[in-house]
């Protein structure tokens, strides 16, 4: 299988503080890969570097065989790379419907957009109920659903998810994780998932990377990591 996303020796800095050290990872087409690690380990920074919000100071980022290191963030959705960012970033004074429209901003295929709208409303019926409400009036769980639905409206080839379970009840988190698995299996969508909830992430993912203080310290099949004694102790609370 070919790698759809590849990071090679990526470094990133916030001012003089180095946030990423020599990060290398690859995601194959159709895989669900997770990055786990503690707060501040560089997981979110990795995602932001992939989509160009944070600039890589060294190394290479390749997507579908092409370097995207110097691309602006707004050039990536057209390549099929969509992100559910940290903190959800719902447009608070756009309606739920308008938030979803924004997800399909670059698309011109009206019929297909309509079909995808039906699809996300089937996945998240609550969004259909609330489609005329402002995004800012939704609960945390609903906003997370909206953030994912908005990304799906871009019909991405690859979805980047930053902490989709943050601040949500276990039940809602599980619902959201099931849907991520579902779109991966049914639509063949590649997923790169950053999560603090290592337990859930490792159950969902095919493979996983473990990050500490800005560097990748371990990489393996998710199932193997779940049995790894160090991981159990450090991240799974066992």
């Amino acid at each position: 299988m070919a790698a759809i996303l590849e990071l090679e020796g990526v470094c990133a800095h916030y001012g003089r503080i180095q946030a990423l050290r020599d990060v290398s990872l690859r995601v194959e087409e159709g895989e669900v890969v997770t990055i786990i690690g503690a707060n501040g380990a560089g997981k979110s920074t990795t995602l932001m570097t992939i989509c160009g919000i944070v600039r890589a100071t060294a190394g290479e980022v390749r997507y579908a065989g092409e370097s995207i290191r110097d691309k602006r963030p707004d050039q990536l959705p057209a390549l099929g790379l969509c992100q559910v960012p940290e903190g959800r970033r719902i447009f608070p004074r756009l309606t739920v419907q308008e938030n979803l429209d924004m997800g399909a901003f670059l698309r011109r295929d009206a019929d297909e957009i309509e079909a995808d709208l039906g699809m996300v409303f089937r996945l998240f019926p609550v969004l259909h109920e609330r489609r005329k409400q402002h995004g800012g009036t939704l609960s945390g769980g609903e906003q997370q659903m909206l953030a994912i639905a908005r990304a799906l409206m871009g019909r991405p080839r690859m979805l980047l998810l930053d902490e989709p379970s943050l601040g949500l009840s276990p039940m809602i988190s599980q619902h959201i994780f099931r849907i991520i698995r579902n779109v991966n299996e049914e639509r063949g969508m590649t997923v790169l998932l950053v999560e603090q909830n290592a337990n859930m992430a490792l159950k969902l993912a095919d493979r996983a990377y473990v990050m500490e203080t800005g560097a990748v310290v371990m990489e393996d099949d998710a199932a193997a990591l779940r049995e790894n004694a160090d991981i159990k102790k450090a991240y799974l609370g066992q």
Binding site: I53, L94, F105
Partner: protein, 305 residues
């Protein structure tokens, strides 16, 4: 009572013009949190292009044979010209400072205002330039209120532009992109919106509205001057703040209120006419003091639109 309705019509006319200018302030503030001090000069540039075009057409006899066509032509051309001028101003004076502090951009805007005003003075002279107004005479009396065709024209054009703007901002794809960019630039980039283009478009739209207002003010008062943008600019800014800066509906309401108050105060307060410019600023200070978020505004530290 007739007198009151007469003043109401006058206030509505002036208020509509303030609203058009206020929209440019509020839209730009909504999207990049900049008080664009050069906006009043764009308004003045519109007024000047209007007088140049209309005088030429009048000298060719066109304003006698096809006055409405001539006016529409001047309006559209001035709106297009000012839109391009504002986009150029944005590119030269504001875009390079996108990552700088808000104070730097504000100073750049002040500098741009002085530059444009002096540019107008150098190229057009320091004296008033008279608008050709022969074609604007006439009107009718209705229930004792005198309404000139000019006022009807101004009100109609203002209403049309306000409706068009509302449709653009709330119904179209680019309007949605503008609102999304105003609310969250990072996220709007992540859905594929190129924020530089949206910002540029916002400047263009605000400038087009100001240009139309500049022509209508020129027609209404019969002349333009190189510094005509300053006082109406600040009054329109007061209107934007009154409505809640960043809020489009607020700017429309604020403009109407400021225009209305100015006319009514001039009509009913003894010697109010001499102090008519004061009232907008009294309102501005009052709003800043008692309700800094304005009529439609939300949190001060939040961006709107």
């Amino acid at each position: 009572m007739d007198y009151f309705f007469q003043q109401l019509i006058n206030g509505l006319t002036l208020g509509g013009v303030y609203a058009l200018v206020a929209l440019g302030y509020t839209m730009v503030y909504g999207i990049i949190q900049l008080i664009n001090f050069a906006h009043g000069e764009i308004f003045a540039a519109g007024g000047y292009l209007g007088v140049i075009l209309l005088s030429y057409m009048a000298s060719q006899g066109l304003m006698d044979s096809h006055p409405w066509f001539g006016l529409a032509f001047a309006l559209i051309l001035a709106m297009g010209y000012c839109a391009m001028l504002a986009m150029a101003v944005e590119k030269v004076a504001y875009k390079p400072l996108r990552q700088s502090s808000r104070l730097s951009v504000l100073l750049s805007a002040l500098g741009m205002s002085i530059f444009l005003q002096n540019g107008l003075m150098l190229t057009q002279g320091v004296y008033d330039k008279a608008y050709p107004t022969e074609f604007t005479h006439g009107g009718f009396e209705w229930l004792g209120v005198r309404v000139s065709y000019m006022q009807i024209g101004i009100l109609a054009v203002t209403a049309l532009l306000l409706v068009l703007l509302n449709t653009l901002v709330f119904k179209t794809r680019i309007g949605k992109a503008m609102r999304a960019t105003a609310q969250d630039k990072v996220m709007s980039a992540l859905v594929g919106i190129h924020s530089d283009k949206v910002i540029s478009t916002t400047f263009a739209i605000g400038a087009a509205l100001a240009a139309a207002a500049g022509i209508m003010v020129g027609l209404y008062y019969g002349s333009v001057r190189y510094d005509m943008g300053f006082v109406p600019g600040i009054k329109a800014f007061a209107a934007a703040v009154l409505g809640g800066i960043g809020n489009i509906t607020g700017a429309m309401i604020g403009g109407l209120i400021i225009g209305m108050v100015e006319i009514l105060a001039a009509a009913y307060i003894p010697a109010g006419g001499e102090y008519k410019d004061v009232f907008a600023f009294v309102i501005l200070i009052g709003v800043l003091y008692f309700m800094p978020t304005g009529i439609m505004g939300e949190n001060v530290d939040d961006t709107r639109v």
